[in-house]
């Protein structure tokens, strides 16, 4: 019973991580959006699994919120944002694809090493997924650091948020519902602000390449 629980939790965490890795492999923002949407769906699934095994009805609500907001609404907004900018492609990232993949693999290894004492202390059946969640956070940060297009960075940020949520769910079975709702609102607001920024960047530079921001100095 609890072994199935932990298997499912680890499986889900691995899947979320793989969706993050897809960001490094693909080049079109459309594929990024799809990856993010699926990642959020899996995340919602993990939350639902935790809710089922821990008999915590509040978490069902969180799962539904996740599904609605991140699995459907934000991807929809993202796709709509793509419209005015045309098909943006991440053609020349700072770090090339193969190296990025290797670096993220090493980041996950690092996450395992860092999490070692944490996992050893914990007794939760979900503990084995925690290194993967931390790895997801690292990989998302790496995406933000190594990619040039503003939209990629936005998605990287959203995945980072997913990673934090995953860590919270796996490590503490979720934070109180009020806080969770607050985070969701924050997220939505943050997304709006970023959307605004992306529009402004595009207006100013006719491109979403954040390298252009360097020109603001002059």
């Amino acid at each position: 019973m609890s072994s199935l629980f932990s298997q499912l939790a680890v499986l889900g965490s691995s899947l979320t991580l793989i969706f993050a890795l897809m960001l490094l492999w693909h080049r079109s923002v459309d594929a990024y959006t799809t990856a993010f949407a699926w990642q959020s769906v899996v995340l919602a699934g993990i939350v639902a699994v935790v809710a089922y095994f821990e008999r915590d009805p509040e978490l069902y609500f969180v799962a539904a919120m996740l599904l609605l907001l991140k699995g459907w609404l934000i991807p929809r907004l993202l796709r709509r944002m793509e419209g005015p900018f045309g098909a943006e492609q991440e053609l020349q990232p700072y770090v090339n694809t193969a190296t990025s993949l290797l670096i993220s693999g090493l980041l996950v290894l690092f996450a395992y090493a860092v999490c070692r004492p944490l996992v050893a202390l914990s007794h939760l059946p979900t503990r084995a997924g925690m290194p993967l969640a931390l790895g997801l956070i690292f990989v998302s940060l790496f995406v933000i650091a190594s990619r040039k297009k503003a939209l990629t960075q936005v998605i990287g940020f959203l995945m980072l948020e997913n990673g934090i949520a995953l860590l919270a769910v796996l490590g503490t079975y979720g934070i109180p519902l009020v806080v969770e709702i607050g985070v969701f609102l924050d997220l939505l607001l943050g997304f709006m602000v970023m959307q605004l920024f992306v529009y402004r960047i595009h207006e100013t530079f006719e491109s979403l390449d954040v390298e252009q921001l360097g020109r603001l100095k002059h």
């Binding site: 090339n96 190296t99 290894l109 395992y112 090493a113 070692r116």
Partner: protein, 674 residues
């Protein structure tokens, strides 16, 4: 006198007689007698090693003549494998050298070559017997100097001189490290017997210093990254039978020394020792093969592969040290056995490949692969031998390279038993990089064999190539047979090598008895492999397939036609894939590691830029980390040299004054210290 004593004396006599004959004889007889001396000496070295392994007895002798005071020799289990590989490669390359060096007649001194060749074999044979620091260091220096002079054989080529100088510089950096190491180890008394040193363990901080110095000194000789730079320079310019000895045996002395000091005298250490050796080994394996891939000078390519294989050997040793520090003794034994096995194997196939490359050089007078091609039709036996060597070094079953690499893989798989997870997680990365270097080595040898021997000749020289003389074929044949034999008998070789290690008295092995059954079961019960059965199976299948074709009545007619080229009129060698083109995909894939320089210049027509007159494209690969590491060092030396130039005045009186001052200072020092 015991059997081993007789053999030792016999070997020394043979080598000295060979050297003398080479010095005194004329070009023809000196060459042949010198080769005989070397070959018979090497055969005795080989049997010495075998006797030592078979009987398990220890030979030891201390010389007390006034001129040889403190000179001590001893043969034990660890010396034996190295004696065997010295004898094997030595015998093959001396037979080969008899024919090969004929080409030097009247161009370079054959006497010097023959005498030095004998001396090199002598120092190598004695090196592994050295039983105190003084003997070890003296022989070490003698071996380095003789090897230096041998590299200098073609001394009128500027590249040779440059390469020899690099070799001399790095080998002396290593020597300095070894000197310091032995001073620390023997607390100042260099003539202390190794047995005493084994008994007196130094304090831990000193041990660490000793380890670092030993690693530095021995890796300079072995050609481990980053001290490998001399290897691809010096090995290609030496005469080919000397290259075989340099790559096959001389660099193995680094491995021997490292094992002797770290395994035997200090009997292992903390885990980071093994980790460091492992990391350096992995780096050497990968970078060695990567640079080999980009190389189109056949002998340089082989030299870079020596860097790779030394890396693989150090992976085995490093993993063994790590396991030892965690108390996983049978895994540690497996690692050391695998490393020793690979050491012998590498000596055989690399010797063979260098001899093969020598035959090609002998026939075409070029080392540039882009000017070869089609040689398999002109020199079929050399091609077959080179093919055996290429398949062995690419670790293809059922040849010897595969047997030892398989063992190293199995050792590394045991890494999951290491209780420290952070360390254990490093092992899979080593496995992956080792596998990568294995795959790349295969790619590299498809290139080396395919471009050199297959298709159409790319230059008139290659068209006029001829088969090597019989003595050279015999030399290659010995090593070719050794490659096959060592590949088919791991079930025999592994226990024997295990016994060699069991001779090290302070290493407490749990399992040194390896099963003697036909399949090779590794002690940690990880996997099993049986190369004789595998070879038999492959041979049977090779016979069955034509039989099956005959049974189903397949059409056996063969018509010879042109190569298909989309109906073009004629084929020229320029239409073939070149070595550069062959390696191009990998160059692109690893562009971040190679960092090639690009230089593109286009000459436009003065009237319009749409008419191009000529396009020149140049792309070179310089090992950037060498630049990073060595450039500043060289700069510092230059600056120091500039500073102290005022000491030199070219006036004899001044130099005598320096000496006087130095003497007085020494005397004062001696007077002050009680």
């Amino acid at each position: 006198m015991t059997l081993m004593g007789t053999l030792v004396t016999g070997a020394i006599v043979c080598y000295l007689a060979g050297a003398l004959a080479a010095l005194l004889g004329n070009d023809r007889w000196g060459r042949i007698l010198g080769a005989w001396g070397a070959a018979s000496g090497a055969a005795i070295s080989l049997s010495l090693g075998m006797v030592a392994l078979a009987s398990g007895s220890v030979f030891s002798a201390v010389f007390d003549f006034p001129s040889l005071t403190g000179f001590a020799l001893r043969i034990d289990g660890l010396s034996a494998p190295f004696l065997i590989l010295t004898g094997l490669v030595g015998a093959a390359s001396s037979v080969y050298g008899a024919g090969y060096s004929a080409a030097y007649t009247g161009v370079y001194s054959l006497r010097k070559l023959g005498a030095l060749f004998n001396l090199l074999l002598l120092t190598l044979t004695l090196q592994v017997m050295a039983d105190n620091a003084l003997t070890f260091l003296l022989l070490w220096e003698a071996m380095s100097l003789v090897a230096y002079l041998l590299v200098l054989t073609e001394h009128r080529e500027p590249a040779t001189v440059r390469a020899a100088n690099w070799y001399l510089a790095i080998t002396h950096v290593g020597f300095a490290a070894l000197l310091a190491m032995f001073f620390l180890l023997s607390a100042g008394d260099l003539s202390t017997a190794f047995d005493t040193l084994r008994a007196n363990a130094p304090v831990p901080t000193q041990r660490n210093a000793i380890f670092i110095l030993a690693l530095l000194g021995f890796s300079a000789k072995a050609g481990l990254i980053p001290l490998h730079v001399w290897l691809p320079m010096a090995h290609p310019v030496a005469p080919s039978h000397v290259s075989a000895l340099l790559s096959g045996v001389v660099i193995k002395m680094g491995v021997y020394g490292f094992c002797r000091i770290v395994l035997d005298l200090m009997s292992g250490g903390p885990a980071w020792w093994g980790g460091l050796a492992l990391a350096l080994g992995v780096a050497s394996a990968l970078f060695g093969v990567l640079y080999a891939l980009m190389e189109h000078d056949l002998k340089r390519l082989l030299a870079y592969h020596s860097v790779e294989n030394i890396g693989i050997i150090f992976i085995g040793i490093g993993a063994g040290l790590m396991f030892q520090s965690y108390g996983l003794m049978s895994l540690a034994a497996l690692g050391f056995v695998a490393a020793l096995y690979h050491t012998i194997n590498h000596a055989c196939f690399k010797g063979l490949l260098f001899l093969g490359a020598g035959s090609v050089l002998h026939a075409t007078h070029t080392r540039n692969m882009e000017e070869m091609g089609g040689l398999i039709k002109k020199m079929p036996r050399t091609a077959l031998m080179f093919l055996i060597g290429a398949a062995s070094i690419s670790a293809l079953p059922p040849l010897n390279g595969f047997a030892s690499e398989w063992l190293i893989f199995q050792t590394l798989l045991g890494g999951s038993h290491i209780p420290e997870p952070a360390v254990a997680l490093m092992i899979p990365i080593a496995v992956a990089l080792l596998a990568l270097s294995g795959g790349l080595a295969m790619a590299c040898f498809v290139k080396a064999f395919g471009i050199t021997f297959l298709a159409i000749a790319r230059s008139p020289a290659a068209e006029k190539a001829h088969e090597a003389p019989l003595s050279m074929q015999a030399g290659m044949g010995i090593l070719g047979l050794a490659c096959i034999g060592l590949g088919l008998t791991p079930f025999f070789v592994v226990p024997v090598l295990g016994r060699a290690l069991a001779g090290l008295d302070r290493l407490a092995w749990e399992t040194t008895v390896f099963s003697l059954t036909l399949p090779l079961n590794t002690p940690a019960t990880f996997g099993s492999m049986s190369s004789p059965l595998l070879a038999a199976g492959l041979l049977i299948l090779l016979g069955l397939i034509p039989l099956a074709l005959w049974v189903i009545g397949a059409n056996r007619r063969t018509r010879v036609g042109d190569t298909w080229g989309c109906g073009r009129i004629a084929q020229t060698p320029r239409m073939q894939y070149t070595a550069t083109a062959f390696a191009e995909p990998l160059r692109r894939v690893f562009a971040e590691l190679y960092r090639p320089t690009k230089d593109l210049s286009i000459d436009f027509h003065p009237e319009s830029k749409y008419f191009v007159q000529s396009i020149e494209y140049q792309s070179e690969i310089h090992p950037w980390f060498e630049k990073l590491l060595y450039q500043p060092l060289i700069g510092i030396f230059h600056r120091i040299a500039d500073r102290v130039r005022w000491i030199q005045a070219g006036w004899l009186g001044l130099y005598l004054t320096y000496m006087l001052v130095g003497l007085i200072a020494l005397l004062v020092l001696a007077w002050w210290t009680p």
